[in-house]
Every structure is written in structure tokens, then in C-alpha cells.
């Protein structure tokens, strides 16, 4: 027992290694949210009139809403007038090459292990880096352009590809969807825009790196990925934030559109600052992510490794509209100390012969609470829909909690839907087995946890898988249950 306490203390003592801040001159909007704030953001980005109108419509709608309260965690009410909705490094952002980027900024990204200088060519990852509210740089743009792939910041897309933006923005997550989606639609600052033309297989992984730096700000980015007929893209997302005592809000919206026979693979390694061991500070990660398989035989796959944030509240979902379309969701959510997570997915089967698969692994340690909430819905016309859901929870420490709320709604008799879930702690016999073979308890835990999550980690692209594995080891180091 004494040993157990020691080790839990050790876990608690783990430091967040991305907690530094960058001293850089920032330009911010005044605190608070009014119509003027929105006009300010819109004019800063010299947006066309239709975009401003869209924002204002969303804002009006948002004003009529109250924050939802059905979630399985509690948090103090957020004062939406006490947030800065726009923060950007003062330097002018239209850059031709990386040489013009503030060196301070480049250093920051280098510290995070994301080198923007294109030395990363070998790893074959194109990066779009978002610092507070704006996109700083996007690499490998030209190579991608040759193939007709558009990979740029959202602000750029609004100007250069208004037709695509107009057609697809808000088509998967309308601003009327929920409280945070409405807020995002009103104030979203930047984000990534990806368009893969017909029949093109994106030659490299696309990646966005989000960094919150400024104090009192919220981050509201918006990502839109469109995969045209027969195309393929793999997209990665990573995020970190400095350590601060107050909570910061991150309310992003991600929309994926997969047309006929297209495939989108979206991976997230989320490592926002989780707050200290008493639950002070940390990011509220309230994100709406949804993809739609518009055409037949389309496929959308979500993979997420959630280790950061004081509160994670998101449900990356798939609408399987095309016949024979496939939706997948692989998730590892790790909570420690006072962290809380309420995450899962929704699979909406509309087309015939659609398939979905859900694999969710929750690990709760310390005093944290980890909730899986998922919906599998089979509509009346979705003949022969197939779903398999597996959600496993692992508990480390006797003050943690694991919760499962799967909703299954079936309206078609030919549906085959299976759900299984289990909750357990690391078996003493498993540890004993390892000890017996000369593997220390520490290492054995790592081994078991990694094995527990393997199914999900295997889904991640190579570079991320390694990072995620390390991240897991760090977050849970020494957690003998």
C-alpha cells in the first residue's frame, strides 16, 4: 500500500514539459464578446462580406443559447465576456518564406519538436502551425500544389477558394448544432483548410500544430477537410499550451467531407496543459468534430490519443450517408490527477450496407474521471448496417472513476450491432507474471498499458505512434494499481 501511494505521488509529480511561454508581442482584441468583437476579427482578416454575415448570424443564434449541462463532469461556469477572442503575433503574417517568421516563434515550435524549416522533408510531413489565433506557416505548400492539393490556413482559403469554402463550410457542423459550434462559427480565428482533388492520393501526411500562448485568450480554430472522389488523405493534429493558473477555453470545430470512394484519416494527439495536481488551471477542450461520408464507399477514420486538458469534452463523429461507407473511431483517453474526460463518438448509419467500428480505451488514474459516451444510430432505411463497439476502461488508484454511457438506437431489423465493454484494473497476476520474468513493476505497467492501447496506437501514423507511446509512458509512469 505504502508503495502504491508513493508511486501515485510520483505520477502526480510529473511535470508538463510544454508549459513554457513565449515572449512575443501580441496584438489582441479587447476582452469580451459583442458584435464589435466579431466585426473586429472579420476586419483584421479582411474577410468578404458573406463571411461576416455568417459570423453575425451565428453570433445572434449563440446569444439565444445557454451552455449545455448534460455532461458527466462539473466545471465552473465560463464567463464568455472575460475571454480575449483574438490574439496574434504582431508581425505581419503574409510571408513568402520561413526566413520572415519571427525567430522567437520558430524557436517555440522547435522547442515543441516541430521544426517548421523544411528539413523535415525526410519525414514527409507537411505542417500548418497555428499560434494562438493565427496560422503562422504552412510547409511544403508548393509540392502539394503540383498535385492540385490545397493545404492552407482557413483565412487564406476564404480569400482564395471562396467557392469551396462557401459550399462546404458549416455543411457538416452547422452553427445551429450546439452551443460551442455556434460560438466557434461566430469568432473562429483560423485553422487549416485541405482540399484533395479527384483521384489524388496525398503523398505526405498533413499536419496542424496548435499552440495557445497568450493569457486569457480562447482558441477557436476551424478545420475543413474535403476529399474529392477517390482521393486519400491522412491528417494529423497536435496541440500544447503553457502552464497557467486560470482555465483557458479551446472550442474548435472540425469538419470532414468524404465524397465517393474517398478516404480521410484524422489523427489527434492532444496534449493541452492539464492543470496542476490540485486541478488548478488547464485547458477546457470543448470541440465539435464531425465527418460525413457523402458518397458511396467513402471512409472516415478518427484516431485520438487524449492525454492533456483539464476537461476533454468531444465526440468525433461520422455520418455514414453513402451506401457502403465506413466509419471508424479509435480512442485512447488518459486522465490523471483532477482531469476529467467525457468523450466518445457518434456513428449515424443512413446509407445501406454501412459499417462502423468503435474502439475506445479509457485509463483513469489519480482522482480523475473518464467517461465514454457514444451513440450508434441505425436509421430505418440503413439496411444491413453493421457496428461493433468495444470500450474498455482501466482504473489506476482507488479514487478514480470510469463511466460508460453507450446509446444504441436501432430502427432497422437487418442491423447487426454489438457493444461490449469492460472495466478492470491491472491484474496482480499480470504484474506477477512480468516480475517473475525479471521485468520491474514500473516497466510491467508500461507494458500492460501499451498492450491495452495497442489496437488504437497501431492506427496512428508512424511518427505519431512513437510520440503517443512515449506520452502514455510519461503520463502513467509508475502507476502501480
Amino acid at each position: 500500500m505504502a508503495e502504491e501511494v508513493d508511486i501515485i505521488d510520483q505520477v502526480v509529480g510529473q511535470e508538463y514539459k510544454y508549459g513554457f511561454t513565449t515572449n512575443i508581442e501580441m496584438e489582441t482584441a479587447p476582452k469580451g464578446l459583442t458584435e464589435d468583437t466579431i466585426r473586429f476579427i472579420s476586419s483584421k482578416k479582411t474577410e468578404p462580406e458573406w463571411m461576416l454575415e455568417y459570423r453575425l448570424k451565428a453570433f445572434k443564434y449563440w446569444q439565444g443559447l445557454t451552455a449545455p449541462s448534460w455532461q458527466n463532469f462539473s466545471y465552473p461556469a465560463v464567463d464568455y465576456q472575460d475571454i480575449i477572442y483574438y490574439a496574434a503575433p504582431k508581425e505581419k503574417i503574409t510571408l513568402d518564406s520561413l526566413d520572415q517568421v519571427d525567430p522567437e516563434l520558430l524557436k517555440t515550435f522547435e522547442k515543441l519538436g516541430i521544426s517548421l524549416s523544411e528539413q523535415k522533408r525526410l519525414t514527409g510531413v507537411a505542417v500548418d502551425a497555428v499560434f494562438d489565433s493565427v496560422s503562422i506557416a504552412t510547409t511544403f505548400k508548393d509540392q502539394l500544389k503540383e498535385k492540385g492539393i490545397i493545404f492552407c490556413s482557413m483565412s487564406e482559403a476564404v480569400h482564395e477558394h471562396p467557392d469551396l469554402v462557401k459550399k462546404y463550410l458549416s455543411s457538416v457542423v452547422p452553427y445551429t448544432d450546439n452551443f460551442f459550434a455556434a460560438l466557434n462559427a461566430a469568432v473562429f480565428s483560423d485553422g487549416s483548410f485541405v482540399y484533395i482533388p479527384k483521384g489524388v492520393r496525398c503523398p505526405m501526411e498533413l499536419s496542424t500544430y496548435f499552440r495557445i500562448n497568450a493569457e486569457n485568450t480562447g482558441q477557436f480554430e476551424r478545420t475543413l477537410i474535403i476529399a474529392d472522389e477517390g482521393s486519400y488523405v491522412s491528417y494529423l493534429e497536435g496541440c500544447t499550451a503553457p502552464m497557467r493558473d486560470e482555465n483557458q477555453l479551446h472550442a474548435a470545430v472540425v469538419e470532414l467531407v468524404a465524397l465517393e470512394k474517398a478516404e480521410i484519416k484524422y489523427s489527434t494527439v492532444q496534449n493541452w496543459y492539464p492543470g496542476d495536481k490540485n486541478g488548478k488551471g488547464g485547458i477546457y477542450n470543448f470541440v465539435t468534430k464531425r465527418g460525413i461520408c457523402l458518397g458511396d464507399y467513402a471512409k472516415i477514420s478518427w484516431t485520438q490519443v487524449e492525454t492533456g486538458s483539464a476537461i476533454t469534452w468531444k465526440y468525433p463523429s461520422c455520418i455514414l450517408k453513402g451506401d457502403y461507407s465506413v466509419g471508424e473511431f479509435f480512442s485512447v483517453a488518459v486522465t490523471n490527477n483532477m482531469q476529467q474526460a467525457d468523450t466518445g463518438t457518434k456513428m449515424i448509419h443512413i446509407g445501406k450496407n454501412t459499417k462502423s467500428r468503435i474502439v475506445s480505451k479509457g485509463i483513469s488514474a489519480g482522482k480523475s474521471h473518464n467517461t465514454y459516451r457514444g451513440l450508434v444510430k441505425v436509421n430505418k432505411k440503413a439496411d444491413k448496417a453493421r457496428n461493433h463497439t468495444q470500450c474498455d476502461s482501466m482504473l489506476i488508484g482507488d479514487r478514480s472513476g470510469a463511466h460508460t454511457f453507450p446509446y444504441i438506437e436501432i430502427n432497422n431489423k437487418s442491423a447487426m450491432v454489438e457493444h461490449e465493454a469492460s472495466t478492470s484494473k491491472i491484474g496482480e497476476d499480470q504484474i506477477f507474471y512480468c516480475n517473475q520474468r525479471g521485468i520491474g513493476t514500473e516497466e510491467a505497467i508500461g507494458l500492460i498499458v501499451n498492450g491495452f492501447c495497442r489496437e488504437v496506437l497501431n492506427q496512428l501514423p508512424m511518427e505519431f505512434a512513437v510520440e503517443a507511446q512515449k506520452l502514455l509512458a510519461v503520463s502513467l509512469e509508475g502507476s502501480v494499481g
Partner: protein, 428 residues
């Protein structure tokens, strides 16, 4: 509107009630009900079950009895049992049909109204202590306006040899009826009891039964509890059953829902001591536009307890089934083992299943699993039978019967199981 009738009923009741603890309790319950109102689909626990068809209707409380009731009773499968019978029509006891064959005088099997006078101490000690009214509108309503019900008391170390059948009939021959039966079952240390709770209906009008059953199981007690619902016609039922278990108790519960327009079952177990066993089994066969909703909750409040839950459904017509199973493992309820399964077979394109198996776990040394499946009959089993020359419809029936009987057989009264199997067969 039902709400108005209820308000009138309560004023009427209050006018003639004698003041005392019981009245205070019921007044408090009514205040709670008025505060909460009828549950709506906005309430998470009632998301899929709309009570509008009940609340928009009018129902009267009545105790008139028709001769038809005797025939219905005599024709029922339960009446064939050698057992103690308490027969209630629209929530009032029918003396002519009730009979107690238990010899031991220390065992009390009577109506709730009688027991409140004759067994006051036990009544006061247990009544309303387990089925909470706070936040539970329908329980509050029952507590405020309960008519009558069964009272069973088994003192320490006794075994009730014959089952106790609580036979409920809704007689809606003349008008829409509302019945609010309330049962209290107290089984003391090391005692054994078998209860069969059964529901029938007659008449062409609608009926609404809002029933609450509280069962207290003392240390090392063993309770078998079977609920059989066969209310044909426009029958609505809200059934709340609460078990409160002391250490080392065994409870085996089976719910069979074979008929009813809208049936909502709330089944709650609370384990207040170590080494408890709770077994929950259920079968629902639905047809037409029926809706059957099973909400179960097992509270593992103490360490070293075991629970096993299995609910199966067969859906036909435009029917809907709802299942919501919650396993709550409280802080420090270590070494808990909890299992839960929900299986559904859809036989019609228009049937709907909404299932939500839920786990809430606050202790780390536990083993909990749950599973849910929805689908058609297994194609392989079907092929196996067909390849042996069994016609399709026979094969289908064979498979369905096997699937359903698995639950019926959890009932430990062989005569009853046999009769029920025939009944289920007929339904399929």
C-alpha cells in the same frame, strides 16, 4: 388531463384522512410530485418513453368489481399454483379470491391497509424507506395516492413454503381506471420467500397502473421475486421495484413482459452489506405499437458483491423496446463483480430498439462488463436447422423459443415455467 384528476383525488383523500405520521409522509410526497410533475422526454431517464398518452388521458380510481374478474383469475396460469394468493382489482383487495395457506402464524401475508394497523412497528420501520420519492415523480405520486397492496413479513429464520402470488387485475370495463398498488415485503435474517407478482387487465377502456414494491432482505435472507406482465388491451404501467439488501443476501429476480401498451419497469437493487448476490433477468416480447422500457440500476455500495443481469427482447410490429441498465460501483466497493447483457432480436422493419448499458465505477479493484446486441436471428443456426430438413417457420420458432425460454427458466417454480413456456410459444 390526468394531473387534474390526481389533484382532486388528493384533496378528497386529505379531507377524510386521519392526521398522523402517515398523512404527513403522503403530503410531503405529493408536494414532491407537484414540484416535479410528470416526467417528460427531456428528462434523461425518460428520453425514449413519452408518457403523453397517459397524462393527456383521464383515469379514475375506482373499486367496483365485476364478475368477469373471477373468470379471468380462474383462467390464469398463476391460479393453478399451490400458493398463497392476494388478489387486487384496481388496487383494492378482493377477499373472496385471496387465500392464505401458509400454516405458520408468525408469517404475515395480508393487505397493506390491514398491516398498517396490525403490524404498525414493522410498517413504520420499513415503509417508504427504500423507494425514495426525492426526484422520483412516479414514486412520489404512488406514495401520495396509494390504494392498497400486499404486505408480507417473514420473521427471522423462517421459510415460506408456498409462493406468495400478488395478483393484480385492472378492470376497465366501465371507464378508464387508475390503480396505484403499493407492496411492502420484509424478509428478516436467514429467511426465505418466493413472490410472484402478476398483472392482468380486462375491459375495453384504458387502464394505468402505477405500482411501487419495496423489498427489504435482512442478513442472509433469500428472496425469489418474479414479475409477470400480461396486461392486454390499452394498458399502461409504471412499475418501480426496489430491493434493499443486507449482507450475505441472495435475490433472484425475473421480469417477463408479454403484453401491455406501455410498460415502464424500474428495477433497483441496493447492496448495503458485503457478499450480496443479485440476479436480474428479463424477457420482453413486444408487438403492435407497444413500448416496453426496462430501466435497471444496481448499486454496489459495499465490497465483495456480485450481480448478474441479462435482458432479452423479441420485437415485432411497430413496437419499441428501451433498455437502460446502470451499474453503479460506489467508492470503496472493491472486489465487485458485475455483469450485464442486453440482447435484442428484431423481427420487423418497423420495430425500434434503444439500448443504453451504463457503467459508473468509482472503485478500482472491480470486474465489470456489459454488452448489448441488436440483430436478426442468427443466419448460421438457421442454416443448420434448414439443412436438416426443418421448414423455415418451424426453425425460426424453435430458435426464438430457445432464446426466450433461457430467461423463463430462471424462475424456480417448474409448474409455472411450463405454463409460461406455452404462453411464450403462443406469443411467437
Amino acid at each position: 388531463m390526468l394531473l387534474e384528476t390526481i389533484k382532486k383525488d388528493f384533496i378528497q383523500y386529505k379531507a377524510q384522512a386521519e392526521p398522523g405520521e402517515f398523512l404527513t409522509l403522503r403530503e410531503a410526497a405529493f408536494a414532491e410530485f407537484e414540484k416535479l410533475g410528470f416526467p417528460t422526454t427531456k428528462h434523461e431517464e425518460w428520453k425514449y418513453t413519452n408518457l403523453k398518452s397517459i397524462t393527456d388521458n383521464t383515469f379514475q380510481s375506482t373499486c367496483e368489481i365485476k364478475s368477469l374478474v373471477n373468470e379471468l383469475f380462474n383462467a390464469s396460469i398463476e391460479s393453478k399454483l399451490t400458493a398463497n394468493f392476494l388478489v387486487f382489482v384496481n388496487g383494492s383487495l378482493v377477499n373472496e379470491l385471496s387465500k392464505i395457506i401458509e400454516k405458520d402464524n408468525s408469517i404475515v401475508i395480508s393487505s397493506l391497509a390491514t398491516s398498517r394497523k396490525n403490524n404498525q412497528a414493522i410498517f413504520n420501520q420499513h415503509f417508504g424507506k427504500y423507494a425514495k420519492v426525492e426526484g422520483q415523480a412516479m414514486n412520489a405520486l404512488n406514495t401520495a395516492l396509494l390504494s392498497d397492496g400486499a404486505f408480507v413479513f417473514v420473521p427471522k429464520g423462517k421459510t415460506v413454503v408456498h409462493p406468495v402470488v400478488i395478483f393484480n387485475i385492472s378492470d376497465a370495463s366501465d371507464l378508464n381506471v387508475l390503480a396505484q398498488p403499493r407492496n411492502l415485503i420484509v424478509v428478516e435474517e436467514q429467511s426465505t420467500l418466493t413472490i410472484v407478482e402478476t398483472y392482468y387487465a380486462t375491459g375495453t377502456n384504458a387502464s394505468f397502473t402505477n405500482v411501487v414494491t419495496e423489498t427489504y432482505a435482512g442478513k442472509s435472507a433469500h428472496v425469489e421475486h418474479y414479475k409477470i406482465q400480461q396486461q392486454a388491451g390499452a394498458c399502461y404501467q409504471n412499475n418501480f421495484t426496489q430491493f434493499f439488501q443486507e449482507a450475505d443476501t441472495n435475490i433472484n429476480h425475473v421480469t417477463l413482459t408479454l403484453d401491455g401498451t406501455l410498460v415502464r419497469n424500474n428495477l433497483h437493487f441496493y447492496m448495503n452489506g458485503e457478499n450480496c448476490n443479485s440476479l436480474l433477468y428479463g424477457l420482453y416480447v413486444t408487438d403492435n405499437k407497444d413500448l416496453v422500457d426496462n430501466h435497471t440500476r444496481v448499486d454496489h455500495a459495499k465490497p465483495n458483491c456480485f450481480s448478474d443481469e441479462k435482458y432479452k427482447g423479441i420485437l415485432k410490429g411497430h413496437s419499441t423496446a428501451v433498455f437502460n441498465g446502470k451499474i453503479m460501483v460506489h467508492l470503496d466497493a472493491q472486489k465487485t463483480n458485475a455483469y450485464q447483457r442486453n440482447q435484442n432480436i428484431l423481427l420487423s422493419d418497423d420495430a425500434t430498439v434503444n439500448t443504453k448499458p451504463q457503467l459508473e465505477i468509482f472503485a478500482d479493484d472491480v470486474k465489470c462488463t456489459h454488452g448489448a446486441t441488436v440483430g436478426e436471428l442468427d443466419e448460421e443456426s438457421m442454416f443448420y436447422l434448414r439443412s436438416r430438413g426443418i421448414p423455415e417457420d418451424v426453425a425460426r420458432k424453435l430458435l426464438l423459443t430457445a432464446y426466450a425460454v433461457d430467461i423463463a427458466e430462471k424462475i424456480k417454480i417448474p409448474e409455472l415455467v411450463e405454463l409460461l413456456e406455452q404462453k411464450i410459444d403462443g406469443k411467437l
